[in-house]
Amino acid sequence: MIKYLLSAGDLTRDQAIEILDIAEGMADVNEREIKKLPTLRGKTVVNLFFEDSTRTRISFELAAKRLSADVINFSAKGSSVSKGESLKDTAQTLEAMGADAVVIRHPASGAANVLAHSNWINGAIVNAGDGTHEHPTQALLDAFTMRKRIHGANSKGKALEGLKVAIVGDVLHSRVARSNLLLLNTLGAEVHFVAPPTLLPANPSNWKAKLHYSLDETLELEKPDVVMMLRVQAERMNASFFPSEREYARIWGFNADRLKTLKPSAFLMHPGPMNRGLEIDAISADSPQSTVLEQVANGVSVRMAVLYSLLSGERAADV
């Protein structure tokens, strides 16, 4: 049983598939009229958010509530929390109040690791995004979405062997890209990163991925099964990573013309929120190939599965 989910790389192939399988059961619950399980009754889950992210927070909140856990939302941004010691104080405060699990979102890379290895806290810890490092539940929900698109009702037990995934955009600063890389490697998929050279790491030698500068060439030559567009953060736009938004959209943005080049079975993902017209145009975002809303729905099921796996201590036989 795992106690922490800090990195998508923490999961073995079997553990990852088990979480995805549990999430299948959770997805069924989410289809029911009464979308609730008693599994985590009496447990307290704290959403500790040092950074704004309404989507991720409500996804975790809904996941915990559907498992009947008590949920506390602690939004630390904008309060006196800006210096490092506050992470410690906040964590110890939550510990003193008896939190069973802490879901942490923090602007500093490694914040969840520090929390896990500091002895400030005894409960389970879920990394809900740390700086430009990782966002493991996003990778899990993406893998879940891929599996579902490909295998439908027969998804259980499946990995992603041989799947060709092109991840496009600001790879350098993307925790989504890092977590997806690790989990997709674990599940047997083939990862291709596509980005302007300024938005790739200077030394990616430890990465098991192929790197490309040209989106069009990648689409044409690699014929990916999945194209995942990454969000371009506003703070990159005036920092000389690329000359202009227009040029970025033209060369690395996904649009209707590129949509036509995808093979029929291929699909298009985006972790949201989208910059429509920048990394993805409206036609592509709203096309049948787009999985954006499925990803949101699957996010709740996957986070239910993660909280369940960390907190229940039991196998998922009763789901």
Binding site: K83, G84, E85, L87, K88, H106, P107, A108, S109, G110, A111, N113, V114, H117, S118, D130, G131, T132, H133, E134, H173, R175, R178, P201, A202, N203, P204, S205, N206, W207
Partner: protein
Amino acid sequence: MSNSFVLKNVQLGDGGATDILVEADKIVAIGSGLTAAEVIDCTGLVALPGFVDLHTHLREPGFEQSETVLTGTQAAAMGGFTAVHAMANTSPVADTAGVVEQVAALGREAGYADVYPIGAVTVGLEGKQLAELGAMANSKAQVRVFSDDGKCVHDPVLMRRALEYVKAFGGVVAQHAQEPRLTEGAQMNEGAVSAELGLTGWPAVAEESIIARDVLLAEHVGSRVHICHLSTAGSVEIVRWAKARGIQVTAEVTPHHLLLTDELVRSYDAVYKVNPPLRTAADVLALREALVDGTIDIIATDHAPHPIEAKDCEWSAAAFGMLGLETAASIAQDVLIDSGKSNWSRLAEVLSTNPAKIGSDSEQGQGLVVGAFANIALIDPSVKRRVVADSASKSKNSPYVGLELLGQVKHTIYRGYFTVRDGKLAEVGRN
């Protein structure tokens, strides 16, 4: 009290066993069969000239919660040092005669080592206007080393002027080589590990480009320049090239850059956060070789104490810097002696003679010769010790805690006075 003792049966550097007779603050005789009122058996101990650190952060005035001149020099004594150069990034900054004289006076009052204040190159370390270098040089503190350490003198005109100006009084500028724009928000070495960890990279080129510029500036104006804490293989190449060309450049390396790599950052334990950052194994190897072959002139600790709260937090919020005084000799021994690549004479050069020469410390680094001040470090090279968090420093941010290091400072003699005896710190300093 009249002070007279014999260090019996010491191993004099690479030489054989002998005795050293100390009277008052001087070495008065070296040879066999010496006697005095007090005889200290030093069988198995290597005698070295007291170490001189060209790069120490004593934090006083202003940051006494981290370190004071007293506790910092006590840590220095524990490491075999008899002199330290106190960096200027205090509060107020050591950019006036008043501050440097205050730091020097605190050093004398403490009595654990000679304290040579380093003067800031620019007012407030802001890189805009030269500090009163002449006033600091002519003050009672007689400053000869100037540095904005912690910040780079990145304006090329200011750097040129500083290099020229300090020639008037035989000074040297010690450059913290870090191109500021290339290192905005930098958290760790830019490389394969930073790519994985999602921490903003501090690229080697940000150090190397400044060193390349500064050795060329030094050549142009005929000045000497000292490079602080060299950390990359590329920097070694540039310094090697500059020396071959006859440029007056000297370079230092820290103990941590000789031993630790950026792989340690994977823990996100901020004790490994330091500036310049820990680099790759290939860099460590190049630095070790450069120390052996003389491209790098000295080991300087960059001892940088920080209180617990500055390290017990997420990586990006943590302070840069690590302790180094009490472990420096062991790491020097590892690189030069235990590796089989060099010898004790070289160790004495890099930890004593050379730093004293670069810093123009006439009363330090004199070597173990008759007539010299009795500044002596006695090391037992065979002791294996596990580094513990407990330290003479006021801070605990040592990256070596839990590691086993070979070699231990048994006694430190500062101007004829035992600041450390049998591994224990003297309760009071020399007065």
